[in-house]
């Protein structure tokens, strides 16, 4: 339209904002990489050229950053809302640039050299002011612009009444986050009006809106837009956060979009007062440098991992909370001298080695059931801790005391290796997690008893009856979400009775409330979580609740209207001799 013009002052706010945000991102990128521990940095570079991780990078960069697959899966309305805005915006930028290179020279105005580079910077953003496009491009541009606006409309509805889009609780924002959101919402309507009417005031408003958006971006949740890509690369490099504020964690902090999907998911949110202890707020506190609050939330968290499961960006908030805990020296004075005198009666043989663990020692029914099952299946086994054993180390790890945990881990490793076993069976998912992640037991298969029993039943070694009882299965956090052991226990239960469904299952299962993870939840708060979880399990009126964790068992037993059993007890009662 204004075909002879190649510059207008209203592009300056945009250019300024863009320059700022690009500079900030480059500096931030260097900072994150520089803060990585040396080994992690090496891992990172290597992962970029390793075909397997490189492919995962490409897959997730497209899947997560561009198409938002995870939000779609979780909530299609939110998926559309986010895609409409983010993907729509991405597309008009891309199409703008395609036009730039295919339609040159722009309406007969020849611009070369530095000037050309400069105009390229803003032409695609304000192209309608400077050029006329072909009908196909015009249609595409209008289409995506309207798509963005439709997304914004949903966002406005969500802001007014989030329940319409299936979200009970939303993140509460401060001034900056609210302001940038308002800027984002108005950018595109201003652009549409400017393009259709060519009124100068709207071109100015559009550009100033962009300036506001980009200048505030680094200090608000919208920083997730540029950061997520880097986070995906770092995540695939297999790095764990070593400091709650630096390096990898920093990339995660800025990648958190504060969308608040974790707020509804968090078991603690059953009490509104506690919804402020969810991961979205934890990440905010870290970003704002509020160490005290971040520490408090890190200590309150039960480490059930549900927020990580529902997170559309896969922020590893549990790991970051653990590194936050490790950053504080708790006054724990532990004396591990007793470890020297501990030995096991297990003799050297390749028999199955059973380790009950502390929690199973407190629920002797499980131990008794396991003994019966192994005997009935004709398995030769040895009991590692029948007369007392050593803790697996998880409680110490949860308090960030890695060295103390290591002492126990080493002693247990020694005892297990001494036995010469090739298969270690555990009854407690808490132990299972630590054995899988922290122990180096090469050549020894580690199984939880759900997997072991499933194997015994499938191989025909263990014969069981099927009865008429309706069971509902509760997925313990450390077995389900942590290791994806969802099918084995269900298959076992289908062999001994009828399996009915809970309202929230598998990766969405609700923590029992007894978790070792939290330091400061009160018993009353825990009870509320337990009641909520029990109600969820009772959704289809089962006769019995079955779980596979001694701690879940003890926790549910206090609040459940029906019998609560461990899967081993259920199987034990159905053995055919």
């Amino acid at each position: 339209m204004n075909s002879q013009i190649i510059f207008h002052p209203f592009v300056l706010p945009f250019v300024l904002g863009m320059a700022f945000v690009l500079t900030y991102c480059v500096v931030g990128l260097i900072r994150v990489i520089a803060q990585l521990p040396k080994d992690d940095r090496k891992k990172f570079w290597r992962s970029l050229v390793t075909p397997k991780t490189a492919w995962a990078n490409i897959r997730d960069l497209f899947g997560d950053c561009l198409f938002h697959v995870k939000i779609w899966k979780r909530n299609p309305v939110l998926g559309y809302m986010h895609s409409a805005i983010a993907f729509g915006w991405f597309m008009i930028i891309v199409i703008g640039h395609i036009m730039l290179f295919t339609l040159k020279p722009l309406q007969g105005v020849e611009v070369e050299g530095m000037a050309r580079t400069f105009t390229n910077f803003y032409y695609p953003i304000f192209y309608k002011f400077f050029a006329t496009e072909t009908p196909v491009f015009a249609f595409l541009m209008d289409f995506f612009l309207l798509m963005i606006i439709s997304g914004i409309l949903i966002a406005v509805v969500k802001k007014i009444h989030s329940k319409i889009v299936g979200v009970k609780r939303v993140t509460k924002f401060g001034f900056a986050d609210n302001m940038i959101r308002f800027a984002l919402w108005t950018i595109f309507p201003f652009r549409l009006i400017a393009e259709k009417t060519n009124i100068m005031a709207f071109w100015w408003l559009y550009s100033i809106d962009l300036l506001i958006f980009m200048c505030m971006l680094p200090f608000t949740r919208y920083m997730h837009i540029p950061t997520e890509a880097l986070f995906i690369l770092l995540r695939h490099a297999g790095i764990k956060p070593s400091d709650p504020r630096k390096g990898y964690a920093l990339a995660q902090i800025y990648s958190c979009p504060s969308c608040g999907l974790c707020i509804d998911a968090c078991p603690m949110s059953v009490n509104d007062k506690n919804s402020g202890n969810t991961s979205a707020y934890f990440m905010k506190k870290l970003r704002n440098g509020d160490k005290e609050e971040a520490q408090r939330i890190a200590e309150t968290c039960m480490q059930c991992g549900k927020c990580v499961e529902v997170c559309p960006v896969s922020i590893e908030s549990c790991d970051i909370k653990m590194s936050q805990r490790a950053a504080v020296p708790y006054e724990i004075h532990s004396d591990h001298s007793y470890l020297d005198v501990i030995s096991t009666e297990a003799e050297k043989s390749s028999k199955v080695l059973y380790f009950a663990g502390c929690m199973t020692q407190l629920t002797p029914k499980i131990m008794r059931a396991m003994k019966k099952i192994m005997t009935a299946a004709g398995e030769e086994y040895q009991f590692l801790d029948e007369n007392g054993g050593i803790c697996c180390g998880r409680p110490m790890l949860l308090s960030g005391k890695t060295a103390e945990a290591q002492a126990m881990i080493e002693k247990n490793t020694e005892l297990i290796k001494q036995s010469g076993t090739t298969k270690l069976v555990l009854s407690c998912p808490i132990c299972y997690k630590v054995f899988k992640e922290e122990y180096h037991l090469e050549g020894i298969e580690i199984q939880h008893h759900t997997q072991y029993i499933d194997e015994l039943v499938k191989s025909g070694k263990l014969k069981v009856n099927k009865n008429d009882v309706n069971y509902v299965y509760h997925d313990p956090c450390e077995l389900g979400r942590a290791f994806g052991v969802y099918d084995e226990p269900r298959e076992v239960l289908e062999n001994v009775g009828n399996l009915c469904k809970a309202k929230s299952e598998k990766e969405l299962s609700i923590c029992c409330g007894g978790s070792l993870g939290s330091f400061n939840l009160t018993q009353k708060e825990r009870d509320e979580i337990t009641e909520n979880s029990v109600n969820d399990l009772m959704f289809n009126n089962p006769d019995e609740i079955v779980t596979a964790c001694p701690l879940c068992l003890k926790t549910f037993a206090r609040k459940s209207p029906v019998k609560v059993k461990d899967i081993a007890e259920v199987v034990e009662s159905q053995i055919i001799n």
Partner: protein
């Protein structure tokens, strides 16, 4: 003045309240869900601190209420109130009109299975204090077979956040020592241990019982909780505990382990209690108006409480409350 007073529960509190009300010229009616009057006391052999036979007390109480109208094997299934008072429907479909209601529903025994780590219902030789009392009464229990080592665990289901009971059950400390002495009487050669958090010897003669337990009966009182129980190859119990006075963990093999189960609120009355509009307190027992001057009254006019339905209580406490509730009801009827 021959107004009906409905008393729900025919234990110590219900019987004593009925006795007093009758003497005051009112007409008490007892509704008892079990087949006999006497409640938990009737199941007991001897009472602390002086080993007084429970039968003695129960028989005297029964004698006093022999003229009171009593329904056995009967529960209140519905209750309504209007300007004329309360109208209760019983499980035998009879209807009772009354001017006031006394809830004397007492307590239930904590279900020891809920503390799975103590092995009740899993290992043969773990029993409850109630079962041991029955042994004293009948002289028979398959689990008690000339035991050489016996342990008592205090506070099972009481002062324990993990089972949602934070309150003290009041009578178990003294009962444990009484039973420790009694088992020693039956098996003088046996070693007897009690595992306590602290011993709450609150009444007259109770502290003397504690001294006697140690001096005359040589019972060993260990300060520390038992943490877990398991069974060895011979079916003997292996317990792990901590002696907090020595600061040392200990492990011990026992023939019999007795769990001193706490009192819990009797939940079988919940539906009627709700209809009457009486709330529960934070311990899950019934809420009275206050613990000083309003211990027998509730937020509802004409609904009274007595005995262990409001908190764990000893027998003397309960009898005292039963007498006090009778006075309260008498004044309530007269001032109407």
């Amino acid at each position: 003045m021959k107004e009906n007073i409905l008393i729900i529960g025919g234990g110590a509190a219900g019987m004593e309240a009925a006795t007093q009300l009758q003497k005051m010229g009112l007409t008490p009616i007892i509704v008892e869900k079990s087949e006999q009057l006497g409640g938990h006391v009737a199941q007991w052999d001897r009472l602390f601190p002086a080993f007084h036979p429970a039968k003695d007390v129960v028989e005297k109480m029964l004698n006093q209420v022999k003229d009171v109208k009593t329904y056995l094997n009967t529960e209140v299934t519905d209750i309504q109130r209007d300007d004329n008072g309360f109208h209760a429907t019983l499980s035998n479909n009879e209807k009772i009109d009354a001017k006031a209601v006394i809830l004397a529903t007492g307590f239930d025994i904590f279900k020891a299975e809920r503390k799975q780590e103590y092995g009740y219902g899993i290992y043969n030789n773990v029993m409850t204090s109630v079962e041991l009392e029955k042994f004293f009464r009948t002289g028979h229990d398959a689990r008690i077979n000339n035991p050489k080592k016996i342990g008592f665990v205090h506070c099972v289901g009481a002062r324990d956040v993990k089972v949602c009971n934070t309150y003290c059950s009041k009578v178990c400390c003294t009962t444990a020592l009484k039973q420790a002495c009694e088992i020693k009487e039956v098996f003088p050669d046996a070693e007897v241990y009690t595992f306590y958090m602290d011993l709450r010897m609150f009444g007259p003669g109770y502290e003397d019982l504690y001294l006697k337990t140690q001096k005359d009966f040589d019972v060993k009182c260990v300060r520390g909780r038992v943490c877990e129980v398991s069974e060895d190859m011979d079916g003997k119990l292996v317990i792990k505990a901590e002696d907090t006075l020595f600061g040392k963990p200990l492990k011990m093999t026992l023939d019999v382990l007795v769990l001193m189960c706490a009192m819990e609120k009797n939940k079988s009355i919940d539906a009627i209690q709700q209809k009457l509009g009486v709330a529960n307190n934070t311990d899950g027992f019934m809420q009275n108006q206050d613990m000083y001057l309003g211990m027998n009254t509730t937020a509802q006019d004409g609904v009274f409480v007595a005995g262990a339905c409001t908190a764990p209580k000893s027998l003397p406490d309960t009898i005292g409350e039963a007498r006090s509730v009778a006075t309260q009801v008498f004044n309530y009827i007269n001032n109407k």
